[in-house]
């Protein structure tokens, strides 16, 4: 089977899964996080951020950097994926707390993989790989906003110096 067809089919299945998710309990949220993370990072469905992040999202990153607003968050994730176009993310751990009435807190432990094949602020593509060293930890707050489930705040520092080293020529 053609790889494009395989990915296209997988994307359709995952999209149907997240659209049908009712966030009714912790397991439903865990399933959503797993599917959604794969869609955005592995399958580059960056535009889905508009669906599940509040327009006023506060996104706390490393080095005193805080992103405000969904549009800026889309640009930030886009930049990361453009740096590593073949990026995939291993979700190593998901912890969920809360319930359907009061909202959920979600913890993700992720490992980013990918190869720097595009230009970045650090220079020309290095073709170096992230290997197993790029750890990402994220805490998300999921709440109902105007009847829809949205991430209203997230803390997501990434191994910035590690990425800088991978994207910098020897």
């Amino acid at each position: 089977m053609m790889i494009c067809n395989k990915y296209s089919d997988e994307i359709k299945v995952l999209r149907r899964s997240i659209e049908a998710n009712t966030f009714s309990d912790i397991e439903a949220v865990r399933s959503f996080i797993r599917d959604y993370t794969k869609l955005v990072y592995d399958f580059k469905m960056i535009g889905l951020i508009y669906d599940y992040y509040d327009k006023n999202i506060i996104y706390r990153k490393e080095n005193r950097l805080t992103i405000t607003g969904v549009e800026n968050l889309v640009f930030d994730i886009l930049e990361l994926l453009a740096t590593f176009p073949d990026m995939t993310v291993d979700l190593e751990s998901i912890i969920v707390s809360g319930d359907v009435d009061s909202g959920y807190k979600v913890w993700r432990r992720m490992r980013y993989h990918g190869t720097n094949t595009n230009h970045t602020k650090f220079g020309a593509p290095t073709n170096k790989e992230l290997g197993d060293g790029c750890l990402g930890l994220s805490m998300m707050f999921l709440n109902k906003v105007d009847g829809s489930w949205k991430v209203t705040e997230e803390h997501n520092p990434i191994s910035y110096s590690y990425i800088r080293d991978v994207c910098t020529a020897e």
Binding site: I3, C4, N5, I11, K44, G47, D51, F75, P85, N118
Partner: protein, 189 residues
């Protein structure tokens, strides 16, 4: 357009694409106009997998030919990251063909956006391609055929206004730099 309106439009486009029967050239033209919008304006880059083949051949200006879907994904992300607010302003798209032999369509559009991301030309310049300055024109032709039972773009020819893009993505020289260059030229002369 606010986010709610954008998501509604996205759903309409998605529904049309999912239910398109590829029976007429008009249907095909409409599908690829909406598909282009979903990938670029709505940033659903993963939808490239729907209509590209593993070994897609893309012919670019200057005799460059790229083969393979990985290059399509990487180039799309790279261009999009250089212009994070990029929008496509369609001039026209039309197709010919039939369900048996496949279709061929041509599209013409202007790129609209601001260079706020890094590119192969260096750091962001903040320069814009505005809707009314008709600066950067992009044309492409695609050959669409059924492969393994699915409609796919199997070959594409693409020309963008390379010089205009270079101008947008290259920082203007400061007055001091211009003076220094002039001085160097005078010395050489």
């Amino acid at each position: 357009m606010d986010i709610k309106q954008m998501l509604e439009e996205r759903k309409r486009f998605n529904d049309y694409i999912d239910n398109c029967k590829f029976e007429t050239p008009e249907e095909v033209a409409r599908l690829f106009k909406e598909y282009t919008n979903l990938i670029w304006d709505k940033k659903l880059v993963g939808l490239c997998y729907d209509f590209y083949t593993d070994d897609i051949v893309i012919h670019r200006e200057g005799g460059v030919t790229a083969i393979g879907y990985e290059g399509v994904i990487a180039a799309t992300l790279s261009f999009m990251a250089s212009f994070p607010n990029l929008k496509f302003q369609f001039l026209d798209i039309f197709a010919e063909g039939n369900p048996e032999d496949g279709y061929r369509f041509g599209q013409s559009l202007y790129y609209v956006g601001e260079n706020n991301g890094y590119s192969s030309y260096g750091e962001p310049t903040g320069k814009t391609m505005s809707p009314d300055d008709n600066l950067c024109l992009g044309l492409c032709e695609c050959l669409v055929k059924k492969v393994e039972g699915r409609w796919k773009i199997v070959e594409e020819w693409l020309v963008r206004s390379g010089d205009a893009l270079e101008e947008i993505m290259t920082k203007d020289k400061t007055e001091e730099e211009s003076v220094a260059i002039s001085a160097e030229l005078e010395v050489e002369a």
